[in-house]
């Protein structure tokens, strides 16, 4: 492959003009290209939402499943064939709302999966309702009294659950995003990258200017495996929003903890065994 354009396919994205998704797609293709990954070596998994359409717009193996269910599908794929790089694209609704329970348990399992969350703090595909990361009190057509739940802090949540790689980037900082993506893909274990993203159609508050005035890139001045320090850093969100890697550890992955697939992939062991010994 001579350029990252080799990942292009001929499907025209069904995203709004100016959507942050374009930048995320572009950064991802560049990250894959720079890592020297071939299309057949990755399997992209997604659920439902504008973010989840991303796998359709590049050359790859892929499974675009149900709303919120990308993590279990990806876990099944990764266990069946741990040689594949399994990468998920989801949104804040898909990952933190509908799929919240699976996220909690993915933190516990630590499968070797990279999860990119397009976090635009709004439901775009269903046209503007509050999401789990919408700030308290924001009024929408479906929340006439304002959103009555506190927003989720995905970074703090992931650190608390000992997620093995936790980072944040911004769709308006494509170079930073690409580099974080590369680190996340290379990380062995479950990696969560929360990508702050603008929604030009439905989020009039957290627009490009809003983020541009707040985000800053940081390199942790603490040991990245220091959970307390990382947690402290994760509390910073408001006038200043840090972008970077907050936390990482080298826990054994779910796949490595399964003795059956220690030496070979499960898919390479697909056979029809003799069951005589079961009939005694």
């Amino acid at each position: 492959m001579r350029s990252y354009k080799g990942f292009d396919n001929d499907t025209v994205p069904a995203w709004c003009p100016g959507c942050g998704n374009f930048a995320i797609l572009d950064s991802f293709k560049k990250a894959l290209f720079e890592l020297g990954i071939e299309p057949h070596e990755i399997t992209l998994v997604s659920g439902i939402g504008q973010s989840s359409k991303l796998p359709h717009y590049l050359k790859c193996n892929g499974f675009n499943g149900l709303h919120g269910r990308s993590l279990p599908v990806a876990t099944g794929i990764s266990v069946a064939n741990h040689k594949q790089k399994v990468i998920i694209f989801g949104g804040d609704g898909d990952t933190y709302g509908e799929g919240g329970n699976h996220l909690l348990h993915a933190f516990r399992r630590n499968p070797n999966i990279t999860l990119f969350v397009h976090n635009n703090a709004v439901y775009g595909l269903t046209k503007g309702q509050a999401s789990p990361t919408t700030e308290f009190g924001r009024r929408t057509k479906a929340q006439p009294f304002g959103s009555l739940s506190e927003p989720l802090n995905p970074i703090a949540f992931a650190i608390t659950m000992d997620c093995s790689f936790v980072a944040r980037s911004f769709s308006g900082s494509p170079e930073h995003l690409k580099n974080i993506m590369k680190m996340a893909i290379n990380h062995e274990g479950f990696a969560l990258v929360d990508i702050l993203q603008i929604c030009v159609s439905f989020n009039k508050v957290n627009n490009f200017e809003w983020y541009r005035n707040r985000v800053y890139e940081f390199n942790a001045d603490y040991d990245l495996s220091d959970k307390l320090k990382a947690f402290e850093k994760s509390q910073e969100f408001g006038e200043k929003i840090p972008l970077g890697v907050f936390y990482s550890n080298s826990r054994l992955t779910f796949e490595k903890n399964i003795p059956v697939i220690k030496d070979k992939t499960l898919v390479s062991m697909q056979n029809f065994p003799d069951i005589k010994s079961l009939m005694d």
């Binding site: 499943g65 279990p72 064939n81 009939m279």
Partner: protein
């Protein structure tokens, strides 16, 4: 000639160990055995029983009347009302603090005997086991062997204590003997529905099993787990049933045979992903082990209340297969057929069973012939590399014997595999195109349904085909149908369906339709309140049953009760 023993007491008193012990003992001596369990949804206390019928006659279903009751609780004393002639109840008057003066009650001081030997009360089930073996004059060496086999993985000390308990029970003179007719057949093996489905899945090359524990499906989950290491299977306890089925679909997409198992409530949660399997054409096998509903229902009891649910579950229109095995032997073969057809037609297949079948033990000849059909329908490595222009959902020629694009393993070649829960084009990408939608449905729905039906076997017949009374049933009721036919109290023909959806095509069902149309009485028998199987068969074949027998108290049919019901109809 056969005998029926009921062992009863609270959960945690070793009822199951004793029951299984007797089942093993008698089957190892060559007797036919059928045993089933009745238990409550609790860990300690309550009232449970384990009932074993054994003898020289074939036996396929529960009996109502008992020859011997062994009870560790007071409730068990009430079963005197179910005793056959010469039937007895064995109990420990001291520990139950109750004396029965009726001559049918035999007091045996289990706990006192244990105390004198310096053993704990927990061995009372072993003492009573050995004592009953002696009543039937079974050589002590067989008793030792069964107990040893049950505790083989325990520390030596535990085995020794159990053997001591055997001696105490066996050597205690009850002054009571029951003459067992000699068994002239070879040692038999025991299979439960759990083992049947587990063996069928492992033998079909199942490599991934994910589930959330739910009675009565958990036994299969555990059985496959126990054998995971030897057969290279990954078994995962998912956070919920939604995750369980989605994981299995992911594993299947990635190239391995995958299965999940649950009961009604869990299956309800799986419905969305059942439909995903239909849309993405990803094969999957789902065990639906029924218990009475709705909602949490009777967690540990039995019912056939989800047939129509299983065949209609999931949103949108897509084909699926529903098999309802009648006994453990059919469990093995139909699980295998479910894996085969699921993969051949790239669809979900459901094994529909129930608590009664999964928890019951049936004896079989040791040289039982298992014939599995295993073919790998997937494109792997080099096959796939050379496959021209692979598109996961490519439209192939409908005139060909199989117009479905073979499943390919992602990563096995430079060609790409993509699929989508949205309506998709041939590559697998989202589309809004009406013409593509039509063509996809034609292959994904119509073509599959029409062709799958050709592989569905006709129902099986038991008894006299010229009989004017025909009993029809499905699934776990095979046992009761065979029991009625075998006992010849009444001349009946029984017809049993184990491949229930889609039903076999008319051409394959002529014999069934002929027999039923010539009968005077046609009786549909099923374990539910609304007659779901009756509705299904009547709507498919366009005739009306003249009568039905339905049971929906959460308990399986027993022989005497069904016979009475038939007499009532006559």
């Amino acid at each position: 000639m056969n005998y029926t023993i009921r062992i009863c007491g609270e959960a945690g008193q070793g009822i199951q160990t004793t029951g299984e012990g007797f089942s093993r003992l008698f089957s190892s001596l060559g007797y036919n055995v059928f045993s089933f369990q009745d238990y409550e949804s609790r860990i300690r206390g309550g009232h449970n029983f384990y009932q074993i019928t054994f003898g020289t006659d074939e036996i396929f279903a529960p009996k109502k009347f008992l020859d011997l009751v062994l009870t560790f609780d007071k409730k068990g004393l009430e079963y005197k009302n179910l005793l056959r002639n010469n039937g007895i109840v064995i109990y420990d008057a001291n520990s139950l603090k109750q004396n029965e003066y009726d001559e049918r009650f035999i007091n045996c001081p289990f706990r006192e005997l244990l105390k004198n030997a310096g053993l704990k009360n927990i061995y009372e089930n072993i003492v009573s086991f050995a004592l009953i073996a002696n009543i039937f004059s079974i050589d002590k060496k067989y008793v030792y062997k069964v107990i040893h086999d049950i505790f083989v993985n325990k520390p030596d000390e535990i085995i020794e204590q159990n053997m001591k308990a055997v001696d105490i029970g066996y050597d205690f003179d009850m002054k009571k003997k029951i003459n067992l007719p000699a068994s002239n057949s070879e040692e038999k093996i025991l299979l439960s529905g759990i083992r049947g489905i587990g063996i069928g899945a492992i033998g079909s090359g199942c490599k991934f099993y994910s589930a959330y524990p739910m009675t009565p499906s958990t036994g299969v989950f555990q059985y496959i787990g126990e054998h995971a290491k030897k057969f290279n299977i990954v078994v995962e306890q998912a956070e919920d049933e939604i995750s369980a089925i989605n994981m299995a679909i992911g594993a299947s997409f990635a190239g391995v045979r995958a299965m999940t198992g649950t009961s009604g409530g869990g299956f309800a949660l799986m419905n969305e992903a059942l439909s995903l399997s239909g849309m993405t054409e990803t094969p999957i096998v789902i065990l639906l082990s029924q218990r009475p509903g709705p909602a949490t229902g009777f967690p540990t009891r039995t019912e056939q209340g989800e047939l129509l649910y299983a065949i209609h579950a999931g949103h949108g229109e897509f084909p699926r297969i529903v098999f309802a095995p009648g006994d453990p032997f059919e469990c093995i073969h139909l699980t295998n057929k479910a894996f085969d057809l699921a993969e051949k037609y790239q669809i979900p297949a459901i094994i529909l069973t129930d608590q009664h079948l999964v928890d019951s033990l049936y004896s079989y000849k040791k040289d039982l012939k298992i014939e599995l059909k295993n073919r790998d329908y997937r494109l792997r490595s080099t096959d796939f590399e050379n496959y021209q222009d692979y598109k996961r959902h490519k439209f192939l020629d409908f005139n060909k014997s199989n117009p479905l694009t073979p499943l390919a393993v992602p990563g096995d070649s430079k060609q790409l595999v993509f699929t989508d829960s949205d309506e998709h084009d041939e590559v697998g990408h989202i589309t809004e195109d009406g013409e593509i939608r039509k063509k996809m449905l034609e292959r994904r729905y119509f073509w599959k349904i029409e062709n799958i039906r050709k592989y569905i076997s006709p129902p099986k017949f038991y008894g006299n085909k010229d009989s004017k009374i025909v009993l029809v049933g499905f699934g776990s009721n095979l046992g009761i149908l065979r029991e009625i036919v075998n006992n010849k109290k009444i001349s009946v023909c029984a017809i049993h369906f184990s491949e229930v959806f889609p039903l076999p095509i008319r051409e394959n069902s002529y014999e069934f339709l002929n027999i039923i149309s010539k009968s005077n009485l046609s009786i549909c028998i099923e374990n539910n309140a609304s007659g779901q199987f009756q509705k299904l068969v009547e709507s498919e074949y366009g005739f009306k049953f003249s009568h039905y027998i339905r049971k929906y108290d959460g308990r399986p049919f027993n022989y005497e009760e069904v016979l009475e019901d038939i007499y009532a109809i006559l």
